[in-house]
C-alpha cells in the first residue's frame, strides 16, 4: 500500500492493495483452520471460566450466569460440530473434539452447580477449564513453532 501511494497510483490501486491485504488475511490453509479452532477453544474455555469465577465471587447474579453458560454450551457444541467438516489432520481433530466436549461438559456442570447453589464445588470445574485453556494454548504454540 505504501509503495502504491508513493508511485502515485490512484484509488483503484489502493482498493486492489486492500483487497489483496484482506484476502491474504483470510487464507484457509489447514494450519490456519487449526489455529482458529484452537483460539476458539481457548476463548470459550476462558469465557466459561470467567463466568464461573465471577459467579463464585458473587459478582454476577444466578440468572445471568445460567443464561450465559447455556449460551456458551450451545456455541461450544456448534464449534465442535464444525471440526468434522474441516480439512484438519486427524490427531488435531481428535484433540479439538475432546477439548470442545470437555468445555461443554464443564459449562453443564457449572449450570447444575448454580442450580444447587453449591459454590464449594465450583473450584474443581474452574481448574479443569483453566487446564483446557492452557492445553489449547500450548498446542497452538507448538503449531506456530513447526
Amino acid at each position: 500500500m505504501r509503495c502504491a501511494r508513493h508511485r502515485g497510483v490512484g484509488w483503484s490501486g489502493v482498493v486492489i492493495a486492500l483487497v489483496a491485504l484482506a484476502v491474504s488475511g483470510c487464507s484457509r490453509s489447514p494450519r490456519d483452520q487449526a489455529k482458529k479452532a484452537l483460539e476458539s477453544l481457548h476463548s470459550w474455555a476462558v469465557s466459561t471460566h470467567m463466568v464461573g469465577e465471577r459467579w463464585m465471587e458473587g459478582d454476577v447474579p444466578d440468572a445471568y450466569a445460567s443464561k450465559a453458560l447455556q449460551s456458551f454450551g450451545k456455541k461450544v457444541r456448534k464449534e465442535r460440530g464444525k471440526i468434522a467438516s474441516g480439512k484438519l489432520p486427524n490427531d488435531m481433530k481428535q484433540f479439538l473434539a475432546a477439548g470442545f466436549d470437555s468445555t461443554a461438559r464443564s459449562a453443564d456442570s457449572l449450570l447444575s452447580i448454580i442450580d444447587k447453589r453449591e459454590k464449594s464445588a465450583t473450584a474443581d470445574i474452574l481448574k479443569q477449564l483453566a487446564a483446557q485453556a492452557r492445553a489449547a494454548d500450548s498446542v497452538k504454540e507448538r503449531l506456530g513453532a513447526e
Binding site: 486492500l18 488475511g25 483470510c26 470467567m50 463466568v51 459478582d59 440468572a63 445471568y64 456455541k75
Partner: protein
Amino acid sequence: MKKLLQLTLGIVTSIGGFLEVGSIASSSQAGASFAYQLIWPIVLGTIVLIFLVEMSGRLAAVSKLTVSGAMRDRFGFDYFVVPLATLSIVIYLVLAAEVGGAAFALQLVTGISYRWWAVPVALFAWFLLWKGPFALVERWVPLFGLVTLVFIVGAVKLGPDWSAVAHGLVPTRPSHDKAHYWFLVVNILGATIAPYLMYFYSSGAVEGKWDESYLNINRFIAVLGMSFGGLLAIAVLVSSAAVFYPAGVKLEGYDQIALMLTGALGSWGFYLFAASLFIGCLGAILEIALAVAYMTSQGLGWRWGQDEEPRQVPRFVLVYTALLALAPWLIVLGISPLAVTSLSMALTAATLPVAIIPFIVLMNDPVYAGKHTNGWIGNVVVVFTIVMACILAVVTIPLQLLGGG
C-alpha cells in the same frame, strides 16, 4: 446565564448520550482482538463527528432549516428520495441493533431471553415518544446516560499499560487477522459517525429556535460534548483490552462483554454495565426514531415537531410508530444482537457518503450557511474520512461476511 445553562446542559447531555450499542460493541471487540491498537479510528471518527455536528448546528442556526429540510430545498425532492430511502434501510438495522442491546441488558439482569424483551423495549420507547416532550429525549434520557462514566472509572482501575494506550492513537498495521482489523475500523467509524445524530441535532436546534447568537454555544457543545463522548468509547476499548486481550477471549456476544467491569468493580461493575447498555440503547432508540420521523416529515413537507400534540402532527407520529413497530422483529426472530450491531455499523459506514456529501455541499453554499460557510480544513477532514470509510467498507465487509479473517 440562560445560555450558560444551555451550554452546560448541552455538553453534559452530549456526553451522556454518546455511547450506544454500536460504540460499546465495536470498541469492546476492538479491545479484545487488538488490545489498544484501534484507538485511532475512535479518535478519527470523533474528530469528524465534531465537525459534522458543528456544521449541523450552524446550518440550523443560520438557515433555520434542518439538514433534511435544507437538502430537499437545495437538491429537490427527486434527489432527496435517494438518501431518504438508503438511510432509512440502514437506520432500521441500527434501530434493531439498539433494541437488541436494550433487550440484552434486561436479559443480563433478569435471565429472561432478550427475544422476549425486544417488543416491550420498543413499546416503552414508543410510549416515551408519544407522551414525552422533546426535552425528555434531548436532556433527561442522556442525563441518565451519565452512568456510562463508569467505563472511565473501570478503565483507570484496571490499570492498563498507558504507553500502549498512547501508541494506539497512531494508526499501525495489524500483525494478525487483517480483514477483521479493517472490518473493526469500518465498524468503529460507522458507530462513531452516525448520520442520524446530525439529523437529530439540527432538528433539535430548529425546535430550540436557535439563531446566529447560538453559534458559539453550538461550537462548544460539538467540541466538548463529542470529545468527552469519544473518551468514553476509548474507555470501553481500554477496559476490554485490559480484561479480554491478555486472556485470549474473542468476543462473540454481549454475555461475554458484560464481564468487562466485574474484575475492577465487582457486582457494581456488572449492574452498571447493564444499566449503561440499557440507557445508552434507549437514548439511541428515541433519537433514531425521531431522526427518521424528522427526516421524512421535513423532506416530504409534512408538519412535524416532538413538542406538538400527536394529533396535530399525525404523519410525523406515524413514521416513528411504524419504525418502532418494525424494529424488534429481527431480534424476536433470534438473530444475535451483536451480529445485527456489527452489520448495521458496517453498513452505516458504507452509506456515509450518501448522507454526508450533500451536507458538505450545503455547508459551502452561502444561501444556507450565510457568511458562515465551511473552511477548507473541515471539508478536507470530513471528505477524507468518508472516502476512507467507503473504500474500507467496499473491500472489507464482503470478505468478513463471507467468513474470512
